[in-house]
Symmetry: C2
Subunit: 415 residues, 2 copies
């Protein structure tokens, strides 16, 4: 069963907004056993919407549209869909009640512009959007079997909630979708080319119904195995066998399974250990703390951290010795060790991590060029430090540093 | 002059990777005076690549492709392009030298898989990718005037560098592109519907060659004016007049111009003031520090911060009084004021900001439901605090809190 995604909005074509909706929708659809045949991003233009709606209906069984449902002049999706299906707009009572509730929750009066949000085409099934004022609309074509067009709001959390609770279950039911099993492996410490050479014989021996995807991120490689078939239990067994066969070949790089990111593995490992964590960040500037606290439940193990951007703060808030900074510099093994040990002691944590480096673009020297980063992990057993030579721009260097820290921490916690 | 973007990769269709390339490319092309007619995302499938290449060439003057250039089995773009243009692959000496240099910089030997990266179709112009092993390829069709197809690597920082230094300048020259002027305004404290009602008369009075886009983000509204025409100076004057006319209507919400985010405005305001900043974060978990340090030059004003996730750290690292936490709770005006004053004093900064709140999904109570957030700004003049009632999921609540903090800080610094 094929789905196409049609994201509408001038803001996507001028590049002011990153299309995160496409990725989130694709992930939900794929994991629900549907195949995304293509993603099309077009502007707020009635003719383009009509043309690509025709094209998407020609190549897929269902079209999921987002965007263009706001109350502003440039939002024309609803009117265009109404014309496309030869219908007319009416004020839906349930949608109006929802708009009224949301506007009231912001302590405001209902305006005429707000009220327009509750108008939908007569021929669609209105799906209430409890998190926002733009309703979701479900259309079915006259084909046999009928195809489906769904119009969703472009606001990401509204779209996600509607997909999870309404649209994906309704699609699975309407199209009687087959079984699918996914498996993610997170690897650290090996690049795409070298991994590809290493696991080629294993990859060639995979069953035909299992597909492998390389999903590289800065400082992290995600391998995704996708098995399709009739029977979930069989697919699950096939996947388990394939993963078991990979460990003898590449096990040293595998940080964990069934996670989207290393912070998820850190959260799990910390929860299993019952211990606590503190962070001392210089070049990562708060990103390690932000990534850990992005996951719910971080408060169970994360005590807090210090972003020590200036040398004075490294001394006053972390207890790094002035002589260490003078003799070795801020980017040095001695400094990163004192940062990790200092934050562990001052914040009263079982484990601590620290970073200091040159994230660029400025600040590099011949001895310590951009990409020179020291990381450390402190525990009751002592402090271990590691020197990284990273490439890329500032954001990539920060990302790679975070992933190296998470990998080093995982190895320490699991010991 | 119309451009289409064709992003290739199964990883995009299964939603494991967010297509940030589309947004970055669209932004660069739009700001260079080109119009993006559509963005198409398809899988690593030769037939789809051929079909959409034909479609894109039919509706646009240039097609920019990304992805599918890696050394792994599922990367087939190069072979497909070679067939499409009826050419053959050869080993390009300059590309090989580049691959050799990059592999050597990682301290590794050149493998056969690495070497395959240097093969390109004879009919293309090879554009060297100094940041990665996959070369960029420029093709021209036999049409009059000739259309252009460019194949770029999918790795974001490699693509960005090639676009900036090679592809955009070559496209502007090849197609003799007209003038364009963009203007961004960042607004805080008003939602899309209410802003739309407020500025409707102004919007209707805009010259026909100026287009307005609403670009809402959590807790922030970006308005983008785009003027097209023959003469840059005329467009600049039109834009200035339009912006001047907006201030009497909505000036109280306008935080600044010509910036992509509030942290950019904060960085500018701090640099102008010559003062320093410190942060004390609870519910934002390091995001304020991470957003500020994502911009180069943050070290000129940012001394550092404390992520005080646990109450013990609020006391020990920020000096919040135990009685305050016991009597008022961690999410309270009294606590946020002591956090801001404490971090300002301990880190020796001129300004300080603090956050404490319930980001959810757990932790809410009837008195302090999810979305209850206190923020504070401390300066030599004292501490001001503000209570926010936010909606959305954890990530949105964090984003909205960050933007509220940046807006409050900007008002204080500018006073």
């Amino acid at each position: 069963m094929n789905v196409t995604i049609l994201n509408i909005g001038d803001e996507l074509l001028i590049g002011q907004v990153v299309n995160t909706n496409a990725a989130q929708m694709s992930q939900m659809l794929t994991q629900a056993g549907m195949t995304v045949a293509g993603v099309f991003t077009i502007g707020d233009c009635a003719e383009d919407i009509r043309n690509y709606l025709h094209h998407c209906l020609a190549i897929s069984d269902a079209v999921l549209m987002t965007g263009g449902l706001g109350p502003t002049k440039d939002d024309i999706t609803k009117k265009t869909l109404c014309d496309f299906f030869g219908s007319e707009l009416y004020e839906n009572a349930e949608a109006l009640e929802n708009v009224r509730r949301i506007v009231a929750s912001h302590g405001r009066e209902l305006t005429e512009t707000n009220r327009l949000q509750a108008w939908v085409p007569r021929c669609c099934t209105m799906i209430n959007n409890v998190l926002g004022t733009a309703p979701c609309m479900w259309f079915e074509t006259n084909d046999r079997p009928s195809k489906v067009v769904v119009s969703l709001p472009g606001v990401p959390f509204e779209m996600v909630n509607l997909m999870e609770t309404e649209v994906v279950p309704r699609l699975q039911e309407h199209f009687a979708v087959g079984a699918i099993v996914n498996k993610n492996l997170l690897l650290h410490g090996i690049g795409e080319s070298f991994l590809s050479d290493l696991i080629e014989p294993w990859e060639l021996a995979l069953p035909e119904n299992i597909r492998l995807a390389y999903l590289p991120q800065p400082g992290l490689m995600k391998l995704r195995l996708t098995a399709r078939g009739a029977n979930s239990a069989t697919l699950q067994r096939q996947i388990s066998e394939a993963v078991s066969a990979l460990y003898p070949i590449a096990g040293q790089y595998i940080m964990g399974e069934d996670a989207e990111s290393l912070p998820e593995l850190v959260a799990h490992a910390m929860a299993m250990s019952g211990r606590t964590l503190a962070t001392a960040e210089s070049c990562t500037g708060g990103n390690i703390a932000a990534k850990l606290t992005a996951l719910t439940g971080a408060s169970a193990y994360f005590r807090g951290g210090v972003v020590a951007y200036s040398n004075e703060v490294k001394e006053s808030a972390l207890g790094v010795r002035h002589e260490t900074l003078v003799r070795h510099g801020a980017v040095s093994e001695a400094t990163v060790r004192e940062m990790a040990a200092g934050v562990r002691e001052r914040l009263g944590a079982d484990f601590a991590v620290a970073t200091t480096g040159v994230a660029g673009p400025g600040g590099g020297t011949p001895e310590k060029p951009v990409g020179t980063v020291w990381i450390a992990v402190a525990s009751a057993a002592g402090v271990t430090a590691e020197l990284l030579h990273l490439t890329g721009r500032r954001a990539q260097i920060v990302e790679r540093t975070c992933n190296a820290v998470f990998a080093a921490l995982l190895r320490t916690v699991r010991e």
